[in-house]
Structures are given as structure tokens and as C-alpha cells.
């Protein structure tokens, strides 16, 4: 749930999503769910000339499994907190595995 928890804090931020088919989409992250499906608003496809069929798309729902990268605004990430959250997650997992 760490990534879910993490991406939830990025709602209403502008993120760039790179899909596994190399399409990169910048938009406002509207919501994310436990499968890391992503809802984007005000989307803007980078290198639009390569993907003209996306030129009229204004918002989209992206299935989590097709996402390669999510590029985040650095200022919106609390690294220390994220480190701690990661430690907690690891501790939880270890607790569950046992």
C-alpha cells in the first residue's frame, strides 16, 4: 500500500506518466487506486506529433499495469517521510511474512 499511499499525496499535482509503449502524458493526477490505476485531467501528450490520435484527449484513465514511470514534482515528495514509510512498510511485510 506504500505506493498507493504515496501517490495519493500527489493528487491534484501535475505529473508526467510514461507508459510501457513509450507514450508520455503530462496531466493533473486526479486519483489513483490500489491497483495504481491513474486518472489524469487536462492531459497533454508529449511528442504529440507521434501520437496524433491522442490530440483530442482531454482526460484519461490509465490502467496501472501499463505505466512505466511516473515523474513527480520533487517539491511534493517528503523524502524523509517516504523513507520512514518505506521502513514501516518493510516492517509490516516482515511481520506478515512471519
Amino acid at each position: 500500500m506504500l505506493f498507493f499511499s504515496f501517490f495519493k499525496t500527489l493528487t491534484n499535482q501535475t505529473v508526467t506518466i510514461e507508459l510501457k509503449n513509450d507514450i508520455r502524458i503530462r496531466g493533473i493526477l486526479k486519483s489513483v487506486d490500489q491497483y495504481l490505476n491513474i486518472k489524469l485531467d487536462d492531459v497533454e501528450v508529449l511528442e504529440l506529433d507521434k501520437y496524433p490520435h491522442l490530440s483530442s484527449v482531454k482526460n484519461m484513465f490509465i490502467r496501472g499495469s501499463v505505466v512505466r514511470y511516473v515523474m513527480l514534482p520533487r517539491s511534493e515528495v517528503d523524502v524523509g517521510l517516504l523513507e520512514d514509510a518505506t521502513r514501516r512498510e518493510a516492517a509490516n511485510q516482515a511481520g506478515k511474512a512471519r
Binding site: M1, F4, S5, F6, T9, L81, D84, R87, N92, R98
Partner: protein
């Protein structure tokens, strides 16, 4: 007893013989099977499909020829003749066969009896009109009805009649019969028409005219509800209330136009359960009046073709919902223009609505309310299982699952309104909503088991939650004898691709190993060590969150609670302290750094210091400070920064970052402690710096100078505040003098890089700290040592923009003022 009160005495009818009464009802329909097959595919036969509207055309007072149609019974003379002739009239092939047989036979007979063979052919036409009664006459030996005495022929007919008349449904088209009656089966009358005709005749003529009908009567009342859902509104006239229609009907005097406007289905639908369905259709097909029946009635000659045009083939459903409109066109003519328009409008609306209802009703009745409840329960179960159980409402659990989000929201402001609303709440909310909906539904429909269902649903959810709690830890199931494993997974705990069983024994041993191997100082154990510190820190922070309120006087329970909490905190503190390795023995001249110094060499370790300082007491803090001071020259930020000579302007990026991080993370914590430290501690620390470290090396780094500045300025503050005892002060001055003497030759070298490298403020701060504490003679020496640098900086700053210039001069002035001078004096 049949529905309409007709005589249903079948055996008596059967006694009358096949030819006399059954008439055309015996006709097989070669197309019936096709229609039935298509109808089966299109499950749910609509009434409209099977209805061709013929019944509408019947006039109550125009049923004089019903006898002809239905075979008027055993009337004598012409009536009987007409009845029987009608009965076979449509059997063209049969007729022809009879005739040709008769001709052949006559010819043979004549040839045998009368060799002259004068007028044989004219005898044949007479024979064509000879019905059953004539056939029985002994005088005529060979008639057209010999066929019916054929043992292969008659049983076939009887089988047919018994099948559809009694068993009602199963009817196989007899191949032998198909070619016989093709015309009779082309156009079919629907059940309604048949019924309407029979009813009309029953009203008009009384029982004796119905003698030929009873065979159809059992069919009128056989079960007609394959779907169980009457589609009553279908085709129901919106402008005529059914009660009125029924009233008219019962009086027997429905006005013709009303009778036509009123859809017959409505009449039938109101008094009793009337459903279209497969059996009906079969019945219809069996009972179609021959298509040229209306042509016998001159008054009916007109309408039937119109009707036939609009008879829809049963499977072709769709916009034909408004079929009655068309059948009523004749009647519409008699209405006024206004009425007609209104009616047409109404009818178009109704057709539209019927179509919609039809489309929507495809799945009607497929699921019972119980089925629906069952599905809802399953869905709820899955919801509960997927979204986590209700126990997750516990904030602790939420924090464990959603730590980053929760804390981040608290730090930066929650983006949503209920940051503490866990996912489990959603399931709960949904459950409650569904409960309301279902119970309301149940009340409205007086559905008695609704409450029961709700209870069961709640119980089930509860059980699901409990099962989830009590779920065994193993995430997979290996069925004996199977080759594979079944892994349980849900959204929270996805299926593991790899299942590596970690031996339980290693769990407890590993941390100890790390501890014992720590002196090796390898990177891995160090990192593990740092993580141990962090884990201890996090649990301490958790403890802080759960701190019970300060106990009041006399509240023993609260005091007890508080004590327990303190104990826990204490034990965690010890754990943290152990993990920090501050108390590891200092090995002089060791090649490996002290564990704590190694800890500090990692960014993670540096970042941990402020958090650690919050959770340790003063004694522990001074211990840490002491450790840092003792190892000042082996700290990475000092040790690695050594490479920078006076002319070596730039340090490696990593080192600079480390220095920055140390300044930001560690120094404030140390400063915070030093600013409250007692004088003797400061003296002791300064002594340690002088005794244990290479002061020159320390002094050439930012961090080293920073710590020295810290100590010197604290001593000065203590002196100014008059808190220093004379003896302490003497000690301090001694140490200070030693330090000053050591540093004086290399004071020029403590400046980083060249004059234009910028960041030399910390040096001026240090010099200022030295200058304040220095004796006038030392100040002189100080000025001489750094004079060049001061002059350089002043002149250099003149070439800089105003703000940077003033900043640089300000730095210099910090020192100058400490020794009672000012850059302005330098002109």
C-alpha cells in the same frame, strides 16, 4: 369446464367421427415447426407476434356463417351438407384425390358393370359432393371416403386429434398430411380470434351451435404462463378503462368501434390470466381457420386481406408493437378527425412505450428477489474482503497501512476532507446504504423475508470479517495429490510470484550477528545498524504518540499507566542507545572508524541525529557530542575535506553535500546542546580537541571550525554572563592559549580556496570567536595573521555588486568588531 363455459365433452365429439366434427382443425400445418423453431430461438414470444387481428373484424351480429366455419353439427339436409363440405372444402389435394379416385373407380366399376360405358365421366362431379353420410350408404360401394376406411389413414388422424386435443402440446407434423393441406396452414388465426369467434357464436346461437367446437375448449384453459409475468400494459388501450370494457363485454353489447378499439388482449387480460407463449402459438397453428374461410362470408371479404398483410411473422419483433392500430384503421374512419388524431397519437405513444417495455423486459423475471439478495451478499462479501475488514477503522492500522499519506496529509494539509476515513469505512457505509435500500424495498412490496435477508447479509458480512481476521497466515493451499498450489490473494496482499520460505530460526539470530560483527565495520552491517536505529526511533515516536495524559493526583490507575509507559520508553531508549553504538570502546589507532563515527558517515546517519537528540537525555547528548569531538578529525566531513588545500578551490560534490548535510542536520543539534552546556563540559571538550585530534586539520574544515566556534563562543557567553568560576576560567584560558598557539601559524590556511570562492563566513565567525576570547596581545597577532586576507576581501568586495559586497564586508566586520575594529576604518 372450459373457460368460456362451452361444452367440453370430448368423447362424444369423437364419436361423431373424424370427418364430421373435426373438419379443418385436423389440418396439419407444415409451417408450424418452422415458426415454432424460430419462436424458440427468440425466447419469450410476445403476444403481438401471434396475433393477427382477425378477431377484431368479427361482428357479433355477423356470425350467421359460423356453422359453415366450424361445421354446424348434425343439422339435417343442406345444413349438414354445408357443414361437412366446409369441413373438407380446403383439402384441395384430398378433394382432388377423392375425385380422381372416384373417377377412376367409377370408370372401373362402370367398365365392369356396364360394358357400353356410355356416360361414365359425368358421374364423377356428383361424387365430389358426396360427404361422409353418403359414403356410409350401402348403395354406393365405392366413394371418395374409402380413403378414410384405409387402416393406415384413419389412425393417423385420430392420433393427431388426440394429441392436440388432450395432451395439448406435442404435435408432430405428419409427412403424409403436409402435402394434403398446404393452403389451410398458410394463414393462421390466433387464439384470440378463435376465441372471439366462438364467444360471439356462443352468445348468438346458443349451445347447439357449439357442438363442433368443444375440441378446442380444453386448450383454452391450459396453462399459459411459461414466463409467469403478464405483460398486461402491452397494447392495452390507454383511453378505455378495462372495467368499462369488461362491463360492455359481459353485457354482450360492446359497441363495434369500442370493441375494436379495445384490444382483445385487454379484454382477455383483464378477466383472467392471459399470456402469450409457446403452447398458445402451437394451439393457434392447430386451429387456424382456413384462409379462404372469410371469403365465404361476403361481409368479411374486405378486411381479411388487410389483416393478412400485417400479420407479422412470429420471430420478427420490434416496432410492430402498435399492431392493433392498423387493424383498427377501418374503425378509425368512423371517428371524428380530432378523435382519430388523438387516438393515433395515443397509439404511437403506446407503441413506443410497448417497445421500450419489451426491450427492458427481456430479462424480466430471470432472477427472483432471493437470487438478487444472494448476489448482493456475495458482492458485499467481496467488497469487505477486498477493501479490508472493518477492524481497519482502528487508526493504528490505518497508519500502518497508509503511513505516508496520513502523515503527509497532516504535515502539508489534507487534500481530502476526511483523511482519517479508512477504506474499511467505505465498505461499512455501502453496507448500511444497501441495507436501507433493501429493507425499504421489502416494506413496500410487503416482502416478508427482506428483514430476514438483511439479517443474514449482516451476519454473513460479520462472518466474512471474522474469517478474514482468523485467516491462516499461510497464503497458499496445497491440495494433496495436486501438482500446483493455490494462492490466496486480494488487493491488499497480492499473490506472491515467488514463495521463499524463510527459516524461522534465522529470524532471531540475524540481528545478533550484526551486532557481534559490527566491529568489522563493513558497509552492510553499518547500514543494517542504521536501520536498527531508525526502527528504534520509529517505535519511540510511536510511543510518543501514545503517551497517556499526565496523571492527576490520586489517580492511581493513570499513574500506573504512565509509569508503564515510561518504562517502555526507557527500554526503547536503551534499545536506541545500543543501536547507536556510541558506547563502543574507542580503539586507538584503529584502521576502522568507531561505529558511531561510521554511522555518521552515512547521510542517513546524519539525518537521524536531530531525531535521536529529541529522544535522549542530556547525558546521552553529551556523550554523543564527546564522541564527535574526540573523533573530529576522523569524521568524514573533516577527514575528506582535508584534501582541500588553500588553493584547491573545490571539494568533490559528494563531500560538499555531506558537509552541507552535516551542517544542516547534526550541527544544530550539537549547538542546541552546547548552548546549554556547563562551562566545565566546554572546557573538557576543548581539551579533547586539543589532545585527541589534529587541530590544524580540523581547523581547515568547515565543520571543524564550526565546532570550535561553537565551543569558543559558548565559553565567551558563559564568561559574559558571569557564570564562570575563576578556576574554570583559568582552565579555559590555558586551553585557549594552547589552541591559539597551535593555530596561529596556519591561520592563513584555514580560509577555503581563493578570495573569490565566496563562502568564508564560517572562518570569519571563527576568527571573531577567537578574537573575542583573545587577549589584546593575541588579538594583535590575530590581526597580523589575517591582515592580508582582510585587505584582499575588502578590496575584492569593492568590485562586487552592492549586495554581495556588503555581505562579504559584513563577514569581515564580524571579525573586525570582535577585536574592536571596523572595516570602515580600513577605508
Amino acid at each position: 369446464m372450459s373457460f368460456f363455459g362451452f361444452d367440453t365433452n370430448l368423447p362424444r365429439d369423437r364419436d361423431r367421427g373424424p370427418a364430421a366434427s373435426r373438419g379443418f382443425f385436423e389440418n396439419p400445418d407444415p409451417f408450424a415447426d418452422i415458426a415454432r423453431a424460430t419462436a424458440v430461438e427468440d425466447d419469450g414470444i410476445d403476444f403481438e407476434d401471434t396475433y393477427d387481428g382477425l378477431g377484431d373484424q368479427l361482428d357479433d351480429d355477423q356470425d350467421a356463417f359460423n356453422d359453415d366455419t366450424f361445421g354446424g353439427g348434425g343439422n339435417a339436409g343442406a345444413g349438414a351438407g354445408a357443414g361437412t363440405s366446409v369441413g373438407r372444402d380446403f383439402d384441395f389435394f384430398g378433394r382432388t384425390a377423392e375425385v380422381s379416385n372416384a373417377i377412376d373407380e367409377e370408370q372401373m366399376r362402370y367398365a365392369l358393370q356396364n360394358p357400353q360405358a356410355a356416360r361414365a365421366p359425368p358421374a364423377a362431379p356428383q361424387e365430389t359432393y358426396v360427404p361422409a353420410q353418403h359414403a356410409a350408404e350401402p348403395t354406393i360401394k365405392r366413394t371418395g371416403y374409402e380413403k378414410y376406411s384405409d387402416p393406415g389413414y384413419i389412425p393417423d388422424l385420430q392420433a393427431k386429434s388426440s394429441v392436440w386435443g388432450i395432451a395439448q402440446e406435442k404435435r408432430e407434423p405428419s409427412p403424409a398430411m403436409i402435402p394434403t393441406m398446404p393452403a389451410a396452414s398458410r394463414k393462421m388465426m390466433s387464439l384470440e380470434e378463435v376465441e372471439a369467434q366462438m364467444r360471439n357464436r356462443g352468445q348468438a346461437f346458443g349451445p347447439e351451435t357449439t357442438q363442433s367446437i368443444p375440441q378446442t375448449m380444453p386448450d383454452m384453459s391450459f396453462p399459459r404462463h411459461p414466463q409467469g409475468l403478464p405483460m398486461l400494459p402491452d397494447g392495452f388501450p390507454a383511453n378505455i378503462p378495462p372495467e368499462i370494457l369488461r362491463a360492455h363485454l359481459e353485457k354482450g353489447g360492446l359497441p363495434p368501434h369500442l370493441a375494436h378499439m379495445a384490444d382483445p388482449r385487454a379484454m382477455y387480460g383483464s378477466p383472467g390470466p392471459m399470456m402469450p407463449g409457446q403452447p398458445l402459438q402451437q394451439f393457434d397453428q392447430n386451429n387456424r381457420p382456413p384462409r379462404d374461410l372469410p371469403s365465404q362470408d361476403p361481409r368479411h371479404a374486405g378486411p381479411p386481406p388487410v389483416q393478412r398483410q400485417h400479420v407479422p411473422p412470429p420471430p420478427s419483433r420490434g416496432p410492430n408493437g402498435g399492431l392493433p392500430v392498423i387493424t383498427n384503421t377501418e374503425q378509425l374512419i368512423h371517428l371524428t378527425e380530432e378523435q382519430r388524431n388523438a387516438y393515433l397519437m395515443e397509439d404511437a405513444k403506446r407503441a413506443k412505450r410497448n417497445h421500450k417495455i419489451f426491450l427492458l423486459s427481456r430479462g424480466n423475471g430471470l432472477m427472483t428477489p432471493q437470487d438478487k439478495n444472494f448476489i448482493t451478499r456475495i458482492q458485499l462479501q467481496q467488497l469487505v474482503a477486498a477493501a479490508g475488514n472493518v477492524v481497519d477503522a482502528d487508526p493504528e492500522a490505518v497508519l500502518a497501512e497508509d503511513f505516508y499519506y496520513q502523515v503527509y496529509s497532516q504535515i502539508r494539509g489534507a487534500p481530502r476532507q476526511h483523511p482519517h476515513q479508512p477504506l474499511g469505512h467505505f465498505a461499512q457505509t455501502y453496507l448500511l446504504q444497501t441495507g436501507n435500500r433493501i429493507s425499504g424495498h421489502g416494506n413496500r412490496r410487503a416482502f416478508h423475508s427482506a428483514d430476514n435477508h438483511m439479517q443474514r447479509m449482516q451476519q454473513q458480512v460479520q462472518r466474512a470479517v471474522e474469517a478474514a481476521k482468523a485467516k491462516p497466515k499461510n497464503k497458499q493451499l496445497i491440495i494433496e495429490g495436486s501438482l500446483g498450489k493455490i494462492s490466496f490473494s486480494n488487493a491488499k496482499a497480492p499473490k506472491h510470484m515467488l514463495n521463499i520460505k524463510r527459516p524461522d530460526s534465522s529470524e532471531g539470530i540475524r540481528p545478533k550477528k550484526v551486532q557481534s560483527n559490527l566491529s568489522i565495520g563493513d558497509r552492510k552491517s553499518l547500514l543494517g545498524n542504521i536501520e536498527a536505529v531508525y526502527n528504534a526511533l520509529m517505535s519511540m515516536e510511536d510511543m510518543e504518540r501514545t503517551m497517556p495524559p499526565p496523571p492527576e493526583e490520586g489517580d492511581t490507575e493513570a499513574i500506573q499507566e504512565h509509569l508503564e509507559w515510561r518504562q517502555k520508553v526507557q527500554s526503547l531508549n536503551q534499545k536506541l542507545w545500543q543501536a547507536l553504538k556510541v558506547m563502543e570502546p574507542i580503539v586507538p589507532n584503529s584502521t576502522t572508524p568507531h561505529p558511531f563515527i561510521a554511522f555518521l558517515s552515512y547521510p542517513k546517519g546524519k539525518k537521524a541525529i536531530p531525531r535521536i537528540f529529541r529522544h535522549i537525555d542530556q547525558e546521552q547528548r553529551v556523550t554523543i557530542l564527546t564522541m564527535i569531538v574526540v573523533h573530529l578529525d576522523t569524521l568524514d566531513v573533516v577527514h575528506l575535506a582535508q584534501a582541500s588545500g588553500p588553493n584547491d578551490s573545490q571539494l568533490p560534490v559528494a563531500v560538499r553535500e555531506a558537509i552541507d548535510l552535516f551542517s544542516l542536520a547534526v550541527m544544530p543539534s550539537l549547538l542546541g546542546y552546547v548552548n546549554e552546556a556547563a562551562f566545565n563540559i566546554i572546557i573538557g571538550l576543548l581539551g579533547l580537541v586539543i589532545a585527541q585530534t589534529q587541530v590544524l586539520a580540523v581547523a581547515r574544515t568547515k565543520i571543524g571550525l564550526g565546532i570550535l566556534t561553537m565551543l569558543l563562543s559558548r565559553a565567551e557567553i558563559i564568561k559574559e554572563a558571569g557564570q564562570a568560576s575563576e578556576r574554570d576560567w583559568q582552565q579555559w584560558v590555558e586551553k585557549f592559549n594552547v589552541l591559539f598557539d597551535m593555530l596561529e601559524p596556519s591561520l592563513v590556511h584555514i580560509f577555503p580556496g581563493s578570495i573569490n570562492s565566496g563562502d568564508d563566513m564560517y572562518v570569519w565567525q571563527f576568527l571573531a570567536a577567537v578574537g573575542i576570547g583573545a587577549s589584546p596581545e593575541q588579538q594583535q597577532r590575530l590581526v597580523i595573521a589575517v591582515k592580508d586576507r582582510v585587505m584582499e576581501t575588502v578590496s575584492y568586495s569593492k568590485s562586487l555588486p552592492a549586495d554581495m559586497s556588503s555581505q562579504r564586508l559584513g563577514n569581515v566586520n564580524l571579525f573586525m568588531r570582535a577585536i574592536g575594529l571596523d572595516v570602515d576604518l580600513l577605508g
